[in-house]
């Protein structure tokens, strides 16, 4: 009996399940006992009570009287915001680093290599803190801010630039800008298609641009009273008004992008090297230029081997965003930790952290896996 393959398989599996169940129940009873013993109450009721703490920089509207659950959502939106931006930026930059690593110019490939090695071999925390310190090592105080353009200044307080503001009666110009953007986007898309179809870029796109520009000029002139440009001005210590980019957000963006781009660069390089030499030669022999070869043949092919490891890197971005707080950007983990500190609901808080990260990362994985299946090379 014991020598029977199938019987063994069943025994092994039952034993494993039993072991897991035993472990689970042990944990459960211990937890229940410990909770009881220490008089720790469980419950998610606190989520609906006011948070009573502030979040410095948020994507969604938030005030400290909002309930805890909303604070968590706001924290999550902060995390997702930087994650998405970093994923986009790092992918593009990583692509160029990967290609640059293979450049024939030793200076270019050397610098790309330095980038990769620094990113790969330094802890992200160190990179972030170091990056943050660079702000005041390099940039001037707010009182001596560098003027980049009228109303646009950069200093240790970040970048501040004019923002477009309008009153509600200015609906027309806003609509105008929106409509012309749509028209232009449509026209250039059509032009691109046409270029593929016919080989020539139709002149009417340039005409459309010209037309929109002239119309915009007239429009702005006509409505010059309604549209207001909110220009930041220096008050006491800092620029107020307008639109600004804080050093914290910028640092986490730059730091995490620098870090991730290094990893993605290596993945891209691997993917490009995995494209067989024959593909390069075939493209070259057909007369495609180097740029065309990359764009039409090599990168699309490399993508096939790049996507799975890229998936892990994207997940890592989401996970690494939990370090944002060391440079003063409040992310989901920070917000929930503050909540734990304020309410003493540690178990619930940690459960929320774990659950949300799992959900976000599994969703991201599913998305990329679906994409991977879609682009898979068709075989017999």
């Amino acid at each position: 009996m014991l020598q029977d393959v199938r019987f063994r398989a069943i025994i092994v599996q039952i034993a494993l399940l039993a072991g897991i169940a035993a472990l689970g129940s042990m944990l459960f009873t211990a937890t229940a006992r410990n909770l009881e013993l220490r008089g720790i109450p469980l419950g998610f009721g606190f989520l609906w009570r006011p948070a009573n703490f502030q979040i410095a920089e948020t994507i969604l509207p938030y005030s400290s009287s909002d309930p805890n659950w909303w604070a968590a959502v706001v924290g999550l939106s902060n995390s997702l915001f930087i994650s998405v931006l970093v994923i986009l930026l790092a992918s593009v930059i990583g692509l160029f680093i990967g290609i640059g690593r293979l450049s024939s110019n030793p200076l270019v490939s050397g610098l790309c290599r330095v980038w990769v090695e620094v990113a790969r071999n330094t802890p992200l925390v160190v990179l972030l803190i170091f990056n943050y310190a660079l702000w005041w090592e390099i940039l001037p105080l707010a009182t001596e801010a560098w003027k980049l353009a009228p109303g646009t200044h950069i200093s240790v307080r970040g970048l501040s630039m004019p923002a477009l503001g309008w009153s509600t009666s200015a609906f027309a110009p806003v609509a105008f800008v929106g409509v012309s953007a749509v028209i232009l986007a449509g026209a250039s898309y059509a032009a691109r298609r046409r270029q593929i179809e016919t080989g020539s870029r139709p002149a009417h796109v340039s005409a459309a641009w010209l037309f929109v520009a002239v119309a915009a000029g007239i429009f702005l002139f006509a409505y010059r009273d309604v549209i207001s440009l909110d220009i930041p001005e220096f008050r006491r210590a800092n620029f107020a008004g307008g639109w600004s980019l804080t050093p914290e957000l910028t640092t986490i963006l730059i730091g995490l992008t620098f870090y991730t781009a290094g990893f993605i660069g290596e993945i891209v390089r691997g993917g490009i090297l995995a494209v067989r030499k024959g593909q390069w030669e075939a493209a070259t022999a057909l007369g495609l230029s180097r740029g065309q070869t990359y764009r039409l043949v090599v990168v699309p092919l490399a993508l096939r081997s790049i996507v799975p490891p890229l998936n892990s890197q994207y997940i890592n971005v989401v996970k690494n965003s939990t370090l944002a707080i060391v440079v003063g950007y409040q992310d989901f983990m920070t917000v929930v930790s503050t909540m734990i500190n304020k309410t003493s609901h540690a178990i619930e808080g940690v459960a929320i952290i774990l659950g949300v990260f799992l959900a976000v990362n599994l969703a991201l994985s599913a998305l990329l896996n679906a994409y991977n299946r879609r682009i898979a090379i068709v075989e017999r």
Binding site: G199, R276, L286, G287, L288, I377, E379
Partner: protein, 254 residues
Amino acid sequence: MNDGEKLSDRAPAIRIENLGKSFGDFQVLRNVNLTVCQGEKIVVCGPSGSGKSTLIRSINRLEQHQSGRIVVEGTELTNDLKGIEKIRSEVGMVFQHFNLFPHLTILENCTLAPIWVRKLPREEAEEIAMHFLRKVRIPEQADKYPGQLSGGQQQRVAIARALCMKPRIMLFDEPTSALDPEMIKEVLDTMIELANEGMTMVCVTHEMGFAQAVADRVVFMDGGQIIEENEPVAFFSSPRSERTKLFLSQILGH
């Protein structure tokens, strides 16, 4: 080819003079001279490592030569980018391993270069592509992907893809040696058809049947040099050098 006109009277399509090429210290080609006339069909053979591939890859500059000259359709191959692009669009090449683009359909494989290099409108490019796909007798596969085709079919697509650029010269580097026996015939038939239409062709192959059927000249290489060149009948019946005799005895005796 038994047309009346003497081939050597025509304008040369390819002129190779004193070609020398080495990889590092290793000299792969030495002092190679070869002139291919318009419409001529040349078969290149020789033992492995003798430099056959390197020679024909030099013709469209997949390899850079170090000494000597190569003139293709009147343009000399130098570092001049424009010249290289011009020549590449006039010289079609078919590789041993097909090298189709696996992420594009058969049709897209064929229209890629005409659209992006020749800047043809898509419709026109597709028309041309279908024309050549019909010619290699697989128009019905146009919307499949290379991975779904057999080796012989893939190689015929590779030929069609090269033809879509309307090249004046075709280079073949052992186009049948990666194929199963049944598929070799399909591909050779396609090549014979091309040859009969008067295309200038340089073909590295060990298919001696093919050489006898279509070649105007057979070139035998060894150790980076051309050892012997002759018309097929003479080449096979009375090879001059010992090396050639030995080689022929090996491949024909098999």
